[in-house]
Structures are given as C-alpha cells and as structure tokens.
C-alpha cells in the first residue's frame, strides 16, 4: 500500500505488523539531516508478571484524530516531518506496537520531537492493552490494572 503524508504528518492504526523502513522513507528528504525512530515493543515482563502476549484495542477514529493532532503540534514546535503508527489486535513478545519517526534538519530537534510525540501519544490517544499471562489477564489503564470481566478481582 502506498503511504501518503498529509502536510508534515502521517498517522495510521493497523492490525498488520509494523515496519519502520517505509515510514523513514516517507519522512526523510534532502533538507532533513536527522531521522529518529522510536519503536515500542512488547516486553516479556510487566509489574513482576510473565507476559504471554498483548491484545490492543483502540477507539480507532478518535485515536487517529488524536495522533494527527499530536503530529501537527510536534511539527509546529520542531520543524519536522513525522509519522506515527500504532498496531492493534494480538501482539506477540518482541513485536512492535507503536512507531514514531521524526525527521528534522538536525539531530537534537529530531530526538526532542520524537520523544514529545511518543510521550504525548501515551497520555491521550485512546488505545488500551490487555495483558495476558499464564493464569490471568488485566487491562492496563495507566498505572492501574483493571479486571477484564465483571466480578473478577484485580489489584486496583
């Protein structure tokens, strides 16, 4: 599929595996001396638990809208071209759940832009992960663990 920027920003939510290379090609250019890529990957440990896999759920139209707003705010603060991509559905250990690729003239601003975008994405984009381990599961809601089905207990 051909990826397309709108202005300085590309956003996408997909259930396909993520690949940073097409996003890097999308944002790079002769005026961009620095391209910083952040990849958030599924870790095998969380809060002392052995994670088996994660399942991501998103409020898709709102999440894409928020990701676009974050991209546009980032490109206003640091002149850059930026791509934000999030995966949904079941993800196995080590797979990438989110990519942020920021291209700027110089590396200092590229690192800052990338960091701002991923930190803000984690604060307000409506995407949740259900963490599944050998003998249980929880929704991760910020710092809290929340029960998946009604009537079950969680550590909240």
């Amino acid at each position: 599929m051909k990826l397309c920027m709108q202005g300085a920003v590309f956003v996408q939510i997909t259930s396909d595996p993520l690949d940073p290379a097409p996003l890097m090609r999308l944002v790079e250019g002769p005026d961009m001396g620095a391209v910083v890529t952040f990849s958030g990957n599924v870790r095998n440990q969380n809060r002392g638990r052995e994670v088996q896999y994660l399942e991501y759920d998103a409020y898709r139209p709102m999440a894409e809208r928020e990701m676009r707003a974050i991209g546009e705010e980032t490109a206003t603060r640091w002149p850059c071209r930026i791509a934000l991509q999030h995966r949904v559905g079941r993800l196995e250990l080590g797979e990438a759940s989110v990519l942020v690729v920021a291209a700027c003239a110089h590396r200092a601003e590229a690192f800052e832009a990338c960091r701002f975008a991923i930190d803000t994405l984690k604060e307000r984009v409506p995407i949740w992960k259900r963490e599944v381990w050998q003998d249980g599961e929880v929704w991760i809601e910020g710092a809290a663990d929340a029960p998946v089905s009604a009537g079950t207990d969680a550590s909240r």
């Binding site: 958030g40 991501y56 759920d57 998103a58 409020y59 139209p61 709102m62 809208r65 984690k122 604060e123 307000r124 984009v125 409506p126 995407i127 949740w128 992960k129 259900r130 929704w139 991760i140 809601e141 910020g142 710092a143 809290a144 929340a146 029960p147 998946v148 089905s149 009604a150 009537g151």
Partner: protein
C-alpha cells in the same frame, strides 16, 4: 432523543457490548449518559470515577450536554508503559 455509545477496552469486555443506543431526555449531559449506561450494565458503575467523557471524538467535560445522534464514549486511563 437517541445517543450512540461506543465501548472499548474494559468497558467492552465487561459489558460484552461494543456499541449501543441509549434513549436520553433533551438536555441530558455526559454524566447522565454514564448513569444510563450503568443502569443498562450494572458492571459499569465505575465509569464516572475512572473515565474521561468523549463526545463526537473529542474530550469534553461531564457537564457537556448531548444532542440527538451524538456519538459518545468513556475513556479509561490510556495504555501504560514507561
């Protein structure tokens, strides 16, 4: 008037629903919609104390009124990870 409610994450898994339509009186606010949702699904009584209300894809306040055919959702704290 009818308001469409979209459910995600814990709201969807606990209620078993991903969307529903609620009949609300004119002048109802997001707080009233959350109360009507908890009436339909008593497992969702925690929603007003944990979630942020959303109307037509934008974060709003609990006092925001809804109008006919609005799309409403309630957003628990989003994904963790440091």
């Amino acid at each position: 008037m009818q308001v469409r409610v979209e459910l995600f994450g814990r709201l969807a898994s606990q209620s078993g629903a991903r969307e529903l339509t609620l009949e609300m009186p004119v002048g109802a606010t997001l707080r009233d919609v959350a109360a009507a949702l908890a009436e339909r699904f008593p497992v969702l009584t925690w929603v007003p104390s944990i979630c942020r209300p959303v109307r037509n894809l934008e974060y709003v306040s609990w006092d925001t009124p809804v109008t006919a055919d609005d799309e409403v959702s309630f957003i628990p704290p989003v994904s963790g990870g440091v």
